[in-house]
């Protein structure tokens, strides 16, 4: 494909300087919100981390590096992250392998169980663990045991379960594509099954594996919901940011730790983007899809693994659901709906706020990422390259850091954005830009596939750019756009970290309610809130699925 298309018809040599500037205009227009809502807050964080009582300097960093407590927290973070990521990857690989490459029964059911935690607030794992193994948990109460899960191992177990579905999605996509011919030649050459796995399967999924490792790493090191709930006295970097900012209103320290958090997350995100771009080149158009063959022993072993992991995932989610319906967990286990009365401060309002924010984020998010991807594809210019960078930059930014940046950047009446500061709109916007990279990459892939082939056909038939977009590109893009909207909706419903610093008493969202209630010891009510979130997401997914089916789009993946 050539980069030049129909409507850029003025020959390059004749193109004036003004035309060149005009070609940059779309990228600049689409890039402005990204500058305002990503770069600007980040610049504020960076600036604030260097600001000391005696002007700009490295004093904050020096103070931190000389602080033994801080070094211990950093060590804690890495100890949690490396172990959780490693365990989660092994589990997710085995599970994805079982689902994609074996003939075990109920593979679709297992697939659904694996992604189930994505429908729940991001601290549901800790919530479930507390209900089961906490001081007043079911196990300790029922058997009179003294298991103490709070601390390192609690965080690790919660984190493993938290990132498992993300790793599963990536690895399952990597394992889904396979060229049967390679396996046949390995077999012809006399390779044993184990050898074929080591020499063919593992190398073929190395990019997916690397991507999954880095995603898990970023997710765990930036997660603060689970450590807050189940960490006890064990503090990690993410929870320390929260303590500094909310607990002690020490913004300088918060930003410094945020910067420390940003560096490993940014490195991991950059490597991940580089690596996942290579995944696609592995499959040529002549390859033949691999159909898993029956192998009793292997399938039985994989089934056992899948059952165990599913049991862990389900027990967490189900215990939360169960706890929301009993009178007083774990003392009076009689059925009761009293926790759904929501006789707490804001009542059920946070749930409505969440839905409102998520719908708004879905709408704004779809437009924002699609516009960015479209402009980059259609108006190539140096500005478009900058736009690409800005579009994937948020993948490197921890949610809390972005949220903190918003406080610092917009919490001043002199800033025009102050008008929406403290409203639900700014929360929706934070979610849009926090998840921008992922949505952008989905729509970019789709637009690339569509545009090359049909734009020229449309142009030669007399279609203008606008007509082509409305009549061809948009209808073909529609299922993808729905998928992206669902993605923004789901993540906005469950996220904590991007919004934790932005909520006010009037704009509290459901996931934060879960955290606060849990923190206060109102575990049953927290569970009820979680259940409401899960139910909302499932209802929306079901409705969208039915709608898409009715419109004839059956092969659209809604869970990303």
């Amino acid at each position: 494909m050539t980069a030049l298309t129909a409507d850029r018809a003025a020959p390059a040599v004749r193109r004036s300087r003004r035309n060149r500037l005009a070609a940059m205009l779309p990228a600049v227009v689409v890039g402005l919100p990204l500058i305002l809502f990503v770069l600007f807050p980040l610049a504020h964080i960076l600036g604030r981390s260097f600001s000391t009582p005696d002007g700009f300097g490295l004093a904050n960093y020096a103070a931190m590096l000389g602080n033994e407590r801080f070094l211990r927290i950093t060590w804690n973070s890495f100890a949690v992250t490396l172990v959780s990521a490693a365990v989660a990857i092994v589990m997710a690989y085995a599970f994805a392998y079982a689902v994609q490459r074996s003939t075990m029964p109920l593979r679709n059911l297992f697939r659904m169980i694996a992604v189930l935690p994505l429908f729940a607030p991001s601290l549901v794992q800790a919530q479930g663990l507390v209900l089961l193994f906490g001081r007043n948990g079911l196990i300790n109460r029922s058997f009179g045991l003294g298991i103490d899960l709070y601390g390192y191992w609690g965080i690790v177990i919660a984190s493993v379960l938290y990132v498992f579905p993300y790793a599963f999605l990536i690895l399952s996509a990597a394992l889904a594509v396979a060229d049967a011919r390679i396996y046949e030649s390995a077999e012809m050459l006399g390779a044993s099954k184990w050898r074929a796995f080591r020499t063919v399967t593992l190398p073929a999924t190395r990019y997916g594996l690397a991507a999954a490792i880095f995603v898990c790493f970023t997710l765990v090191i930036t997660d603060f919901g689970n450590p807050m709930v189940i960490g006890g006295d064990y503090t990690v970097l993410a929870s320390e940011v929260y303590n500094q900012v909310i607990g002690q209103a020490n913004f300088e320290m918060g930003t410094v730790i945020g910067m420390v958090l940003l560096i490993p997350a940014a490195i991991a995100a950059m490597v991940e983007k580089r690596v996942s771009a290579k995944q696609y080149a592995l499959i040529s158009e002549h390859s033949r899809p691999l159909v898993p063959q029956k192998d009793r022993l292997r399938d039985l072993a994989l089934l056992a693994v899948a059952v165990l992991i599913s049991a862990a995932i389900l027990s967490i989610v189900l215990v939360v659901v169960f706890a929301s319906f009993v009178h007083l967990w774990p003392y009076r286990m009689t059925f009761s709906l009293r926790h759904y009365a929501f006789d707490v401060q804001n009542g059920i309002q946070p749930l409505w706020n969440s839905i409102y924010v998520s719908v708004m984020a879905a709408g704004i998010g779809v437009v924002a990422v699609t516009a960015a991807a479209y402009v980059i594809e259609k108006f190539p210019s140096p500005a478009a390259r900058g736009l690409y960078f800005l579009s994937i930059l948020p993948a490197a930014v921890p949610g809390m850091v972005l949220g903190l940046g918003y406080i610092l950047a917009f919490n001043s009446p002199s800033n025009p954005v102050y008008a929406i500061y403290g409203t639900l709109v700014i929360i929706a916007i934070a979610n849009v830009y926090y998840y921008h990279a992922h949505g952008f990459l989905i729509s970019g892939t789709s637009i690339k596939q569509i545009s090359g082939r049909f734009d020229e056909a449309s142009a030669t038939l007399g279609g203008s750019r606008r007509q082509t977009f409305a009549k061809v590109t948009l209808p073909l893009l529609f299922p993808t756009l729905v998928g992206i909207a669902v993605f923004f909706f789901m993540r906005s419903m469950v996220t904590l970290s991007a919004v934790i610093f932005l909520i006010t008493p009037n704009t509290q969202v459901a996931a934060v309610s879960v955290l606060y209630l849990q923190d206060r010891g109102a575990t049953n009510q927290a569970a009820a809130f979680s259940v409401c979130i899960i139910a909302t997401i499932m209802a929306v997914l079901l409705a969208v699925r039915l709608l898409l089916n009715a419109m004839g789009h059956r092969n659209v993946s809604l869970i990303r």
Binding site: T2, L4, T5, A6, D7, A9, A10, P11, A12, V13, R453, F454, E456, A457, S458, A459, T460, L461, G462, G463, S464, Q467, K471, V472, P475, L476
Partner: protein, 339 residues
Amino acid sequence: MTLALSHVTKRFGNTVALDDISLTIERGEFICFLGPSGCGKTTLLRIIAGLELAEEGTVTLEDRDLSEVPARHRNFGVVFQSYSLFPNMTAARNVGYGLECRGRPRAEIEARAAEMLRIVALSDHAHKLPSQLSGGQQQRVALARALAPDPEVLLLDEPLSALDAKVRESLRLEIRDLQRRLGITTIMVTHDQEEALTMADRIVVMDTGRIAQIGTARELYDRPASRFVAEFIGRMNVLPVAGGRLAGLPLAVPQGATLIGIRPEDVRLHAGEGPPGRAILPARLTNTIYLGNLAHLVLSVEGIEHEIVAEVPGHACKAIADAPQIGLELPAETIKVLA
């Protein structure tokens, strides 16, 4: 409707895709761009369509310069190699798309689409989506779609190469027939010489970004201007000559000629020494390839490095093969001077 290209040049980085191409196409003509892969056929077609910009040179239609006219205002119909039908539209809507973009009334669009689908014999498939049509049907819809807005010129980029042999043959006739009926100026890109020979009024043979020769199929076959054309169109024995002699035998060619060509079917073979008084070389049979009604005899001649292929009727083959001695005659009127 004359379409004229003058001095069109196009580079991609360091590769010169097109080098100073000039060409005039008459109204209603069917022209084929023929050449090996990578010689610039597609690039030239895309420049004519307005999908690509020439660095130098102009494209004019009836003396109107098209350089500044974007593809969508040129009103040229294009059929792409990979159909490129819009997958979200039925066959009928695909065909009506050009008129839809021109803002014509609905009734007119529908009538025109139905008419075009009837012309390509797909009326029964009007309401199918592209994914429900066979490759040949899709390409016919693409043809109908390109023709529906009544374009000034029809451009086809290897429209048949993705289809199997049977469909390709019937579609060849169909396209040619339709083109004659509508009298539309047409340019088709192909690297299949048989396709070019059977369909085109004139063929433009291209070689690495340049025009090697322009002419009718007959002209190119009978009077190739260069070794490249001679070998690209049909088969040719290419033989070096010096001082008007080939292996010592004087030939009726200009003294300065260095390279001559003769088609296998023009080589005359004699069992035995052949009639006296004619220029005949003694030859030895090295291989025989039977093609049913015809046979290709591969011969070697003392003093000539290359083997010479002669085409003879299948029944005449045995007499020559069994002869103790073979005489090889190059009739003067069939010798083509290539350099």
